[in-house]
Amino acid sequence: MKNYLLPSLRLTLVLIVLFGGLYPLSVFLIGKLAPGHGDGVTIEKNGKVIGFENIGQKFTDDKYFWSRPSAVNYNASGSAGSNKATSNPDYLKDVQARIDTFLKHNPGIQKSDIPSELVTASGSGLDPDISPEGALVQVKRVANARHFSEEKVKELVDKNTQKPLWGIMGPEKVNVLKLNLALDEMK
């Protein structure tokens, strides 16, 4: 063991400098060229940051499209899922309460039209997206709250629906923050 102790120590030092120092530093330098310059891609309004493109925000107002339920209440200084099992009776009560709240705020919507993602918490607690179905089921409420026609709001949802990767892989999705900002822009 004595034979290997010194070379091991020295090799350790060299590799700490390489992998802890130089490697992330070079990624940092290359990252300067990336969108957001490596600080994360932000969205600004009137010169002020109002959000990160990829970080979901809490929307509870009737005139906005709602994001998914979050186990961390969209506080992105942390991140977590609920870690609730689908067999857990207390968890099922929470889901039931979310369904009831949704129905109360969305009169005229059938329970069977609510996609489950709107009443279940995401993995990160910061999910920026909902499915197109999840947006469409909220169109009526948003249109009423803003006195817009439903067609116009629906068009906006369609315009903000992102296609699967290369058109063939993965789910379609709607970025809730971008959709809501577009909604605020709409006259």
Partner: protein, 571 residues
């Protein structure tokens, strides 16, 4: 849903297609033949010079193990101290605190052994200094530890009698410079251009659209996330791991991270074939592993897409599948696929919360780690499979009445004893740990510990039992994913899993290297008509049978108490 299925089929096929030429490349690297990365040579010479290492000095298998254990011990001491004092050091823009001793112990071991259990949460539990200079560093070298070990085994299994098996430090360094580092840089850059942060800036605070104060944790994450996958480590920069929208921003990065964590383990299997000039053997091994993988992944994806029966009974629609703990941009198919790939190989990163998976998926995730031999982690995966190969050779030799031989060497009592001990160790540490915890929880739940045992679990009944079983399984398999509802940051869990982690790492590396080293010194018997062939379909099935019997059946009673009982309670 078709497009989601296309997505996962693509992820699998593209990795296999890339892994074959990459395996050929790895074989050349370990043989010292000419490769495209020879421009790294001056750089490697510099490393050897600074470290005082002679890369030409040959070691026998015992010296290899000694070198491996010595350098790992140094890493442990270094990491343990750093976590203990990180709060008062620099590069800590968010002002995060130092770790408690038990958490330092657990975290140091868990990154040292390539597990990455993470009883802390990335945003609040570590600093940029420890994320980079301890964790990112350990992610490289812990992966290289096992890849270098595998290089020793490759060398030993060649058809010449020798005890000279190359230099361990040399294998360790070239595993980093020729395999892990180039791939990590590539992946890190692609992540950066898809929105993963790379800068050293601290938390961002601003007012959101509805006027709420929003905090967003960030940091130089892209480099760490790259090696976390390339080295099958799995520990996330952020608490939610690859479910976090900065850690895994879109479907493209999801494909990228899937390929990144799968490619090295897969390529190492093909590398075996190229190195030993036994391609057929490698393809049979790949076939057995793929069979096991498909048997685990297909039911998982099916049940995740189908959705939860209890949610269905509430009357909402589940067109997007079971969505609790999942992200919309990945959907149930890619989440289910990830959950199995990350558990068969030892990554343990997650893009959905396994605790909220359907019972069948939880069962499959557990089985993936219990068998721990289908693909497996960087280097360690093949070592686990190697143990089952030895057992399969021995058993089939006995069955057909021939001397058990593998690659021209007799398999005798000594090798078999080592293999049997390693194979049985895995169920022993998992089941003993789970049994002990269950006993404490049920008989001493009110004990006056800081975190009362009765409050450990996030879910009642059989699922709660699964949370404990999953934790020990994940540790023994050096996986690192979790049923994260478990309250694991307290002395009982930090310390007990710490020991399981050490046993689950080093014995399964020592065993195979010892067996291969002993085999290398035995007389080489060329293949003849009477030799039991190990590169055939039939032998592949026998190996699969051995894995199924030893690994899976020993866990059956525990599984019936956990996910199987849960299944029958809700369907």
């Amino acid at each position: 849903m078709t497009k989601e299925i296309i997505g996962i089929v693509f992820m699998f096929l593209i990795t296999v297609l890339l892994a074959i030429p990459f395996g050929k490349y790895i074989a050349k690297v370990f043989k010292g033949e000419k490769t495209v990365t020879d421009f790294m040579k001056p750089f490697e010479r510099l490393i050897y010079k600074l470290s005082g290492i002679n890369p030409e000095k040959e070691m026998n298998w015992k010296q290899h193990l000694l070198a491996l254990l010595t350098i790992n011990m140094i890493w442990f001491v270094y990491a343990f101290i750093m976590f203990l004092i990180q709060g008062s050091l620099f590069l800590n823009p968010d002002g995060n605190p130092s770790m408690t001793p038990d958490l330092s112990f657990n975290t140091a071991i868990s990154f040292l052994v390539n597990c990455n259990l993470q009883d802390y949460s990335g945003e609040t539990g570590v600093t940029y200094l420890t994320q980079l200079f301890v964790i990112t560093f350990l992610m490289f070298v812990s992966a290289a530890t096992a890849i270098a070990g595998l290089a020793v085994i490759f060398r030993a299994l060649q058809d010449k009698v020798t005890d000279k098996l190359g230099n361990y430090f040399h294998y360790l360094v070239i595993s980093c410079t020729r395999i892990l580092l180039p791939l990590s840089i590539l992946v890190a850059v692609l992540l950066a251009f898809n929105g993963t942060p790379t800068s050293y800036a601290g938390k961002s605070t601003f007012l959101g659209v509805q006027g709420d104060t929003v905090n967003v944790a960030r940091g130089p994450a892209a480099g760490m996330i790259a090696i976390k996958h390339i080295g099958t480590n799995g520990g996330g920069w952020f608490g939610a791991n690859s479910a976090h929208p900065l850690e895994n921003p879109n479907y493209f990065t999801n494909v990228l991270e899937m390929v990144a964590q799968f490619i090295v383990p897969l390529a190492l299997i093909f590398a075996l074939g190229f190195y030993l000039k036994k391609k057929k053997l490698a393809y049979v091994i790949f076939g057995v592993m793929t069979l096991g993988f498909l048997l685990l992944v297909i039911p998982t994806i099916y049940y995740e897409i189908k959705g939860s029966p209890t949610i269905a009974s509430m009357g909402v629609t589940q067109t997007t599948g079971a969505m609790e703990g999942k992200e919309v941009r990945f959907g149930p198919a890619a989440s289910g696929y990830w959950s199995i790939l990350t558990t068969v190989i030892s990554t343990g990163s997650v893009n959905s919360m396994h605790d909220s998976s359907m019972p069948v998926s939880g069962l499959m995730q557990l089985l993936a780690m219990m068998t721990n031999a289908f693909y497996g982690g960087c280097g360690a995966g093949f070592m686990n499979y190697f143990i089952f190969l030895i057992i399969a050779v021995f058993m089939s030799g006995l069955m057909v009445g021939r001397t058990p031989e593998f690659l021209g060497r007799k398999i005798e009592a000594k090798e078999m004893k080592i293999a049997a001990i390693i194979a049985l160790l895995h169920p022993l540490i998992i089941l003993a740990g789970t049994a002990l915890s269950t006993y404490i929880l049920s008989s001493h739940g009110g004990m006056g510990w800081a975190v009362k045992p009765s409050t450990w679990l996030n879910n009642p009944g059989s699922h709660g039992f699964s949370e404990m079983l999953y934790q020990y399984t994940s540790c023994a398999a050096n996986n690192g994913s979790g049923f994260e509802g478990l309250a694991d940051n307290n002395p009982w869990w930090n310390i007990s899993t710490g020991f399981v982690l050490i046993l689950g790492r080093y014995l399964p590396i020592i065993g195979p290297i010892a067996i291969a080293g002993i085999m290398a010194q035995k007389k080489y018997i060329p293949e003849a008509a009477g030799t039991l062939r190990t590169d055939t379909f039939t032998f592949g099935i026998v190996t699969f049978g051995v894995i199924a019997i030893i690994a899976a059946l020993s866990f059956f009673p525990a599984l019936t108490l956990g996910p199987i009982a849960e299944y029958f309670s809700i369907y």
